[in-house]
C-alpha cells in the first residue's frame, strides 16, 4: 500500500540533503561553538553561516536572528520577552482568537499574571480585520501579535495593514510565521514586523529548532532562557548545532524552489478540493478561498465525524488530521473553526489535508478514490444523515 502523507502542517519529513548537511555535526564536527580551540571554531563559523542563510530568507540582518528550540519557544520569547520588559509601560496585548496555542496559551498565561489581552475575532474565512486591531489599541498596549498564516485553515492575514497600524502607534508587532516560512516569500521590512517566529520542522528541516527575528534597536526584550552568552545573550544554552545547520539548509532549499513549488502545490491542492467537492455532497471549504497557504485544504464533511474519517484514511495509509495536531490529546472543537462561526456539528466533520514537497498527483488521486466511499459508508452509519 502506498503511504500518502498529507499532514505537512503538523510536521514534514526531513529533506535528504538537509540530513546530509547535518551529519558531519553529528559525527566529527561535534565541538561546542563557544570553545576557542579548533573544534569550537570550526563549528562557530558554520553557525554564523547558518545565521546568514536564515536571515537571508526573510530579508533580515544575521544579528537579528536568534536560534531557539522551536517555534513555540520563539513565540514565547517574543511575547513574554516584550511583556516582561515593558510591564512598567503597559500590560495590554492584542492578539487574535485563532492564533496557534503557542501564542494563545502564552497570552492566557500572561492574562492570569496581571496582563490584559484583547482577542480579536475573525470573519468567516478566518481573516482578522485590521480596523478591529486599530480599535483595540489603548494607551497601555505594548504588543500586537497576529500570526502570518493559520496552521489549520491556511488563511493568510493582512500583515502589512496591521503592521502599519502598529507602527503608527509605536507598538511592537510580532507575527508567528511558522506556517509561512518556505512557502510564501517573507521580508521583514516589507511586512513591517518587529518580531517574527519560525520553526525548522515545518519546511523539511529538523524538529526542535526554530528562530526568532528580533529587529535591531528594539526596546528591551527579556530573554526566556538566561545563562551563557550564546545568541547575543538572547538565548542561552549550547547551540543545537546540527539542528541549526539543518534549519539553514532547509531554508536554502525552500528559497531556491519556492515559486515553482508554490504553483505545484496550489495545483495539487485545488485538484483535491475540486475533486472532493465534485465527488462528495455536503462538503464545505473552511478557510479563505484564495488568500490561503498553497499547502492547506481544510474541509468539512457534513453529518459525519472527523476522527472516524481520519482513522479510516489511516487504515488506507493516508495521513491527515482533524483539528490541530499540535494540541495533543485534546478533543475540543478547534478554536479556529469555532471563531470562524462554523456550526459545531460541521466542525466535528472537518479534515485538514496539508501538502508538502513529497506529494504527487498520484497522492491526490488516491485520496479522491479512497475518501468518497469512506464518507458514504460513515454517513450510512450516521443518525444525522437519514434525518
Amino acid at each position: 500500500m502506498k503511504i500518502v502523507y498529507l499532514d505537512n502542517n503538523a510536521t514534514t519529513p526531513l529533506h535528504p540533503e538537509v540530513l546530509e548537511e547535518m551529519l558531519p555535526f553529528l559525527k566529527e564536527d561535534f565541538g561546542n561553538p563557544s570553545s576557542l580551540h579548533q573544534f569550537g571554531r570550526k563549528v562557530k563559523v558554520k553557525i554564523d553561516e547558518a545565521r546568514e542563510k536564515v536571515a537571508g530568507i526573510i530579508g533580515a540582518d544575521p544579528s537579528e536572528i536568534v536560534f531557539t528550540g522551536g517555534g513555540s519557544e520563539a513565540d514565547n520569547l517574543a511575547i513574554k520577552g516584550v511583556a516582561f520588559a515593558s510591564k512598567e509601560k503597559g500590560r495590554h496585548i492584542i492578539t487574535s482568537q485563532i492564533e496557534h496555542h503557542a501564542v494563545l496559551n502564552t497570552c492566557k498565561y500572561l492574562e492570569r499574571n496581571g496582563y490584559r489581552i484583547t482577542y480579536i475575532p475573525v470573519d468567516k474565512y478566518g481573516m482578522v480585520k485590521p480596523e478591529d486591531v486599530a480599535e483595540a489599541i489603548s494607551d497601555d498596549t505594548i504588543l500586537i501579535t497576529i500570526h502570518h498564516s493559520n496552521n489549520e485553515i491556511g488563511t493568510i492575514q493582512p500583515i502589512k495593514e496591521i503592521s502599519k497600524i502598529a507602527e503608527e502607534r509605536g507598538i511592537i508587532f510580532h507575527t508567528d510565521a511558522v506556517q509561512s516560512l518556505g512557502k510564501l516569500p517573507l521580508n521583514v521590512d516589507d511586512m513591517g514586523v518587529t518580531l517574527l517566529s519560525v520553526s525548522a520542522h515545518k519546511l523539511n528541516g529538523p524538529k526542535g529548532v526554530g528562530a526568532c527575528y528580533i529587529r535591531k534597536g528594539i526596546r528591551r526584550l527579556h530573554p526566556l532562557i538566561n545563562g551563557g552568552n550564546q545568541e547575543m545573550k538572547r538565548r542561552a544554552g549550547t547551540e543545537n548545532v546540527a539542528g541549526i545547520i539543518g534549519f539553514s539548509k532547509a531554508c536554502e532549499i525552500a528559497s531556491a524552489c519556492m515559486e515553482e513549488e508554490r504553483e505545484r502545490l496550489i495545483s495539487l491542492r485545488d485538484k483535491l478540493q475540486n475533486g472532493l467537492t465534485e465527488k462528495i455532497s455536503h462538503v464545505r471549504l473552511n478557510g479563505h478561498p484564495t488568500e490561503r497557504l498553497p499547502t492547506t485544504l481544510n474541509m468539512s464533511f457534513e453529518y459525519v465525524e472527523g476522527e472516524t474519517l481520519m482513522i479510516n484514511l489511516d487504515l488506507e495509509g493516508i495521513a491527515v488530521s482533524t483539528g490541530s495536531a499540535c494540541s495533543s490529546g485534546s478533543l475540543e472543537p478547534s478554536h479556529v473553526l469555532v471563531a470562524m462561526g462554523i456550526p459545531y456539528e460541521v466542525i466535528h466533520g472537518s479534515l485538514r489535508f496539508s501538502l508538502g514537497r513529497e506529494n504527487t498527483e498520484e497522492d491526490i488521486e488516491r485520496v479522491l478514490e479512497v475518501l468518497p466511499p469512506i464518507v458514504e459508508k460513515v454517513r450510512k452509519m450516521s443518525p444525522l444523515w437519514e434525518e
Partner: protein, 127 residues
C-alpha cells in the same frame, strides 16, 4: 514494547466492521442520546419480544470509540432479557472491548444511555 495503536485490536475490529448498523423500521423501542453540537450522537433501535431483545440496530455519529462501543453494545444485548441488560454498564462495554484510551472513556457512557433511552421508549409505547 508499548502499544502503538490508537485503539485496541478489539476496538478496531468493531470500528472497521461494526455489527448491527442500521435501522429497524418497526422497532419496539428507539433511543437517541447525545447531540451533534457537543460531540457524539447514538440512535439505538430495539425489537423486543417476551421481554427479550430479539434484534438491535444502531446509527452513530462520533469518533472511533463511539462507533465501537455502539457496535459492541448491540452484540451484548441481543438475545438477552430486559432484566439482564439492565446490569450492563459502560464498564461492561469497555471491558468487552478490551479497554479504551482514558480520554475516550466518556464515549462508552453513550451506549449505556442509549439502552436506557430505548427501553424507556419501549415502556412508554407499551403504556
Amino acid at each position: 514494547m508499548r502499544e502503538e495503536g490508537l485503539y485496541s485490536d478489539k476496538v478496531m475490529d468493531h470500528f472497521e466492521n461494526p455489527r448491527n448498523v442500521g435501522k429497524i423500521e418497526d422497532a419496539d423501542g428507539v433511543g437517541t442520546v447525545g447531540n451533534p453540537v457537543c460531540g457524539d450522537v447514538m440512535k439505538l433501535y430495539l425489537k423486543i419480544e417476551d421481554d427479550t431483545i430479539i434484534d438491535a440496530k444502531f446509527k452513530t455519529f462520533g469518533c472511533g470509540a463511539a462507533i465501537a462501543t455502539s457496535s459492541m453494545i448491540t452484540e451484548l444485548i441481543k438475545g438477552k432479557k430486559i432484566e439482564e441488560i439492565k446490569e450492563i454498564t459502560n464498564k461492561t462495554v469497555t471491558e468487552a472491548l478490551g479497554g479504551l484510551p482514558k480520554n475516550k472513556l466518556h464515549c462508552s457512557v453513550l451506549a449505556e444511555e442509549a439502552v436506557e433511552a430505548a427501553l424507556k421508549d419501549y415502556y412508554e409505547k407499551r403504556g
